[in-house]
Symmetry: C2
Subunit: 345 residues, 2 copies
């Protein structure tokens, strides 16, 4: 198995991406293709004596897509490490692509270079999120799609259920809709119509759990939580922002008095444990579902461990033939909504 | 000034509501009208020797709206403390109504009994939320409205700016749209159209800040953050859920070892300080803006201090003539969107 890695993607590239490749090739038994400026990557590789023994190769790409760059402009850089990476996988030279680069650019290239899987109206972005019991759940859409229809949401549910089954070991995944109330009939027009569609689906490989509220997902029984990308993105960032704010306030509180400073020092391992359990970098990044190729997007601030996890998830997705399962199953659900095209009428 | 208080609203009623009335009448220099079963309220009042000296009266209401009750059913209870409370204010016997009861029922009664302010298409629910610097911002809509139009959002912005100016002391409030990106052109159809509408408004008493992301609100310069009620409610609950999850994990971590237990004990005052700063009960509950009467909704789990804060905010709203300001200003903004009715076409 050969995973293509964008050596220049993310805030800590290429130092952490190269280190991630070393970890991945060493521990996962995979080949890693590093794409980017060969000389720069070579310098980094030299820092690891084991590099020569590992199955790592370098493919030259002279340009770099930057973090804030407009996706359209990024696409025009024909020799960027990101674009070359997608093209290598598209050409069959690698089995999957991993990048910690610009999300919008990645999404656009995934759709334009990989193309959509036949029957999938909109690809979505999914990520495993932490729960209190450590099981985690797949959350989607993280913001790849705005203005989605109920039918789009049902397709997300199907694709998510395949991910949960194949990559998270959930036998018959419980798929829930994120909503403002748990009862049937709650929500905006889209959420209500989506509930009807989900309730009417007949695919026996997954179960519609119903609506789930934001507070319950942390302890909830859902394996997949589906939401439109606008609210989904707002919720994701609100969770990140809340966690950041709390830890920043704790830090401030710790330095407030001698007592607190000592307490903070003693509690540090426990607090670090809390952070680790909430750290979604541990979960292997976000996956684009619905495009005709495997692409895993690691967080922009990814360290080597996060890149390693991205490589691991990409490898699992290849091994578990996630693409094939989506292709085979996308036809098992049908748009039974009145208009047949949800809200777009 | 006379504030009507639903003695039976909330999980800790009537114990905490009566205690809140004692605090309010004592410290705020207001009259409080407690609505509910007179005998039960009388028993509670007996526990406070100062009650006799305070300006507190009791108005009988025999029924109680329960927490999970359907709003429509709640409305049918003609003699509920909630319904009687609204009616007392409507009849001019009190200046504002405060309740920690069933949100959906409160909202329905506020609209049906108070009625909407002329020109307001949809009333919204707003609450002051904490920021890291302690300033706070007004967040709306908390979920009173699903399927809102861009024009609804602009009206929310105007009403919110009046609240921020009159009750939070923000001279020329910065009003922002909660969005998935900070640049112009980001967001779903509604968010994009709302941006145009906000940018075109000419009311000089407030400033359109532009889009703001979920992560930035905690440190952001916005005084008012506007969002549709569906996403707004999801985000609010996600923030609550995240905070709960983190503190629950910290608690678990504290009990993990002797070191952590000692650390947790030492850090306890600091952690309590963090919780207090994040506790929106301190901020006086949520206010319904756009209805023709003042109604403050305290959190369902309100203690006496939260009820006190609700009474304080209601009193401030009366004193600052918030209703009049909304009535006078609602006509200063116009629906300049192409269709004139936003997304509802």
């Amino acid at each position: 198995m050969k995973i293509v890695l964008d050596a220049m993607g993310g805030d800590c590239a290429p130092e952490e991406t190269v280190k991630g490749a070393i970890l991945g090739a060493g521990e996962l038994g995979i080949s890693v293709v590093l794409v980017g400026p060969g000389r720069r990557i070579g310098e980094e590789l030299k820092r690891y004596p084991e590099a020569g023994r590992l199955d790592i190769e370098v493919v030259e790409a002279t340009e770099v897509v930057t973090a804030g760059e407009e996706p359209r402009k990024a696409l025009q850089k024909k020799d960027s490490s990101m674009r070359r990476g997608f093209e290598l996988v598209k050409a069959g030279y690698g089995d999957a692509f991993v990048s910690a680069g610009n999300t919008g650019a990645l999404l656009m290239m995934a759709v334009l270079i990989f193309g959509r899987i036949e029957g999938v109206e909109r690809p979505a972005m999914a990520s495993v999120m932490p729960t209190l019991d450590g099981r985690g759940y797949l959350y989607m859409d993280l913001g790849a799609n705005l203005d989605t229809s109920p039918w789009n949401l049902l397709q997300f549910g199907l694709m998510g259920s395949i991910y949960a089954q194949k990559l998270m070991g959930r036998e018959r995944p419980q798929v829930a809709l994120l909503n403002v109330g748990s009862e049937k009939g709650k929500g905006d027009r889209r959420a209500k119509e989506a509930f009807e569609l989900f309730a009417a689906q007949v695919n026996q490989d997954w179960v519609f759990y119903g609506n789930i509220e934001g507070r319950d997902v942390f302890r909830g029984p859902a394996d997949v939580v589906v939401c439109d990308g606008f609210a989904g993105n707002l919720v994701l960032k609100a969770m990140e922002g809340t966690a950041e704010a709390i830890f920043s306030l704790i830090k401030e509180g710790v330095s407030g008095s001698l007592r607190s400073t000592l307490g903070g020092w003693l509690l540090r391992p426990a607090l670090k444990g809390v952070l680790a359990r909430l750290d979604y970098r541990e979960y292997g990044g976000a996956t684009f579902l619905g495009v005709n190729g495997i692409c895993v997007k690691c967080h922009g601030s990814s360290n080597a461990r996060a890149i390693f996890n991205g490589l691991r998830v990409a490898g699992d997705a290849v091994r578990q033939k996630v693409l094939n399962h989506i292709k085979e199953n996308i036809g098992t659900i049908a748009d039974t909504s009145a208009t047949g095209d949800g809200l777009e009428d």
